[in-house]
């Protein structure tokens, strides 16, 4: 048999170089592997196929946790109403009155107010004294003295803000006409 070279020879007789396939043991081994892998891989495969559903469930779980945390936070905020319901009414009233006066005062320029930033901060509703009283009240819900101190705090703050507003209006009337705030409690 004469050929041009080895490459040509192999190309022309390629089929003669092929053996029959592997024995059945190879597939048997593979089949066992496939069956063994399918159980643990099933979960991963299901997740891959249903990733959108998995993502939706994850979002629902995260949302539930966030809603739970929000409700816990609201509950903490509402503790005062649970501890002292009558004080809660007073707080709603005084808070609105104080915020209204603070809004009026903010319409004046800081120089007209004549107070530095620390003093202006102290005028705000929630300051250190307020926080301390609220904590004390939560720790000692039945303590009448603390309840009275809380109401006194609101009244003093409101009085102070009224006085400041009166002086401001006397010195430099604001562009807007202010209503006279009457206290009902």
């Amino acid at each position: 048999m004469s050929e041009k070279n080895l490459e040509d020879f192999i190309r022309q007789h390629r089929a003669g170089f092929e053996e029959e396939g592997p024995s059945p043991r190879v597939w048997k081994g593979l089949e066992q592997q496939l069956k063994a892998q399918q159980r643990p891989a099933g979960v991963v495969h299901m997740l891959k196929r249903h990733w959108l559903k998995a993502a939706a469930v994850l979002v629902l779980v995260v949302n539930s946790v966030m809603i739970y945390q929000f409700l816990q936070f609201k509950k903490q905020q509402q503790d005062l109403g649970t501890i002292a319901p009558e004080l809660q009414e007073a707080r709603v009233y005084y808070t609105s009155q104080i915020e209204q006066r603070l809004d009026d005062i903010r319409k004046y320029p800081p120089e007209a107010l004549g107070l530095d930033s620390t003093a202006r901060k102290e005028l705000e509703l929630r300051n250190d004294t307020y926080d301390m009283l609220e904590k004390e009240l939560q720790a000692n819900p039945g303590n009448e003295r603390i309840r009275s101190a809380m109401v006194r705090y609101y009244q003093l703050k409101l009085d102070l803000l009224d006085k400041i507003l009166e002086e401001l209006q006397a010195k430099q009337p604001a562009t807007k006409t202010f209503n006279h705030h009457e206290r009902e409690i």
């Binding site: 048999m1 004469s2 050929e3 041009k4 070279n5 080895l6 490459e7 040509d8 020879f9 192999i10 007789h13 089929a15 003669g16 170089f17 092929e18 053996e19 029959e20 396939g21 592997p22 024995s23 043991r25 190879v26 597939w27 081994g29 593979l30 089949e31 592997q33 496939l34 069956k35 892998q37 399918q38 891989a41 495969h45 891959k48």
Partner: protein
């Protein structure tokens, strides 16, 4: 649609078959195995040199094929993809057997080619036996180039040696085969 050009395995590999494999259908894996096992087993047999190692290597390679079928983007490239996995497993097998692919001194390729071009005579059986008798390094290079049709550069990358070393080893391997076949006649 991609058909494997192997007379022993005429089953065509379709996009649908690959899609079923990606869904984890064991029957589809079997069809894929049937389509490729003979051709891939022949690669293993040529590279490892014995039936037992060839079957073990084929099994390992198909485990990887089945496990990574999700990564296959186009069914059209499946033949090259599977073949590369099989070849890589064969090379790993050789490395486990302490076969090292080392750089060799370059020789004049043109001179060697002229010897080969002078003519080749032999039988398929004689060539098969001569290739089987080659040192593992030479045999690997010759098989990858002549039978698996990888380029010298691709073989150099696979074996982590220089392209010139691959060319030199291939020429030496071819010359050894030619001499062994000649001695048999």
């Amino acid at each position: 649609m991609q058909a494997l050009t192997n007379n022993l395995n005429p089953t065509p590999v379709t996009d649908q078959l690959v899609a079923r494999c990606k869904k984890g259908d064991v029957r589809a894996f079997r069809e894929l195995y049937d389509a490729y096992s003979t051709a891939m087993y022949n690669i293993c047999l040529r590279m490892t040199g014995n039936v037992s190692d060839a079957e073990d290597t084929l099994q390992e390679a198909f485990i990887q094929v089945f496990g990574n079928i999700q990564r296959l983007e186009q069914a059209g490239s499946i033949t090259a993809w599977i073949k590369r996995i099989v070849v890589n497993h064969c090379l790993s097998h050789l490395r486990r057997k302490k076969v090292y692919f080392e750089e060799v001194e370059e020789i004049e390729v043109e001179e060697e080619q002229s010897v080969d071009e002078a003519g080749f005579s032999g039988t398929v059986q004689a060539v098969k036996e001569a290739i089987a008798a080659l040192p593992v390094g030479y045999k690997t290079v010759l098989n990858l180039y002549l039978f698996e049709e990888y380029s010298h550069r691709e073989i150099a990358n696979m074996l982590d040696i220089s392209e010139s070393t691959v060319k030199t080893q291939y020429m030496r391997a071819k010359e050894k085969v030619r001499q062994m076949v000649k001695e048999r006649i």
